[in-house]
Symmetry: C2
Amino acid sequence: MATKIITISREFGSGGRSVGREVADRLGIPFYDKELVEQIALESGFAPTFVEENGEHSPSKSRFAYAFSQQTIPGIMNGMSTADFLWSIQCSVIQQLADKGPCVIVGRNADYILKDRKNVLNVFIHADIDYRAERIVRLYGESEKSPENRLHEKDKRRKVNYQHYTGRIWGSAKNYDLCLNSGTLGIQSCVDLIVSAATK
Amino acid sequence: MATKIITISREFGSGGRSVGREVADRLGIPFYDKELVEQIALESGFAPTFVEENGEHSPSKSRFAYAFSQQTIPGIMNGMSTADFLWSIQCSVIQQLADKGPCVIVGRNADYILKDRKNVLNVFIHADIDYRAERIVRLYGESEKSPENRLHEKDKRRKVNYQHYTGRIWGSAKNYDLCLNSGTLGIQSCVDLIVSAATK
């Protein structure tokens, strides 16, 4: 049974993270999500919450000035902006994890970062806005903003970040081996299809 | 075993038609490709070769003037352009075929035409240019144009036609339940994954 490195890109609220965790369990391979954040935090010196918030998102409005600043720690950030420094650490950590063998990596543009490797299965999980809105309220509760606005904002920030660092269009089928609509197929079916595709 | 209406949109040379035929065989349901062309030809009065060439493509350069003309057969085409008349017949034929029950329909924007129905699985098959170039030369032989140019031209014409009649972006994952890269997954694996998704 050939098992691959599986990258899972996902729209916010689509259940991509849950799918990834179950795929990793089924295949008995490591699942990198929080671990990835912690490793990037360790290597960059940023707080895990900062990495979590900024590792795959363009800056939110309130952080606009900050993230585009050229604020540097001389000798460490080497003249890079905070965002670019975080990106370079992220690339390095993801390559190191991929070197260890088959695993599931969620988010953080890993499909692009690992594009020159063989034996990688790139997956994109998406769903329509109603499905995702219902799901985020059920899982994360209500907030001041409507679930639709929360989704639009997160989607936009992931999209801008992806396009900036990869030059590719977010959500275009051609970037992936497999794109799945978790809203119509169901979470369990997504898991089954990825496991099947990864073990051919 | 629930079986659905399966629409297969595909990039030229990706093997989507072969995948569709085998999915239909495996599920024991009708496969509409040439039959669809013949039915549209019968209902529109156009030659099958004309329907085949124009049913899902924007006009090629040589036909540009023709397809955008308002040339009409009074009382039949009802003031529509040839392209719009063909589109209206195509919508009607695809709806009639879908009324008959589970089937596989290849191309012709069926994903959009059937968007208001339940029990439809929309699939998009794509592959990188090298894989498709090798495949079209192997299957259809050489021609005056390079295989890459043939692919770019066909891709562009399908893309423009799709965008014109559906308002959607061709190849965007969100239009489909399942998008598959036949070049990396292999034709057989695509068949297996679609059968699996259709019978959950």
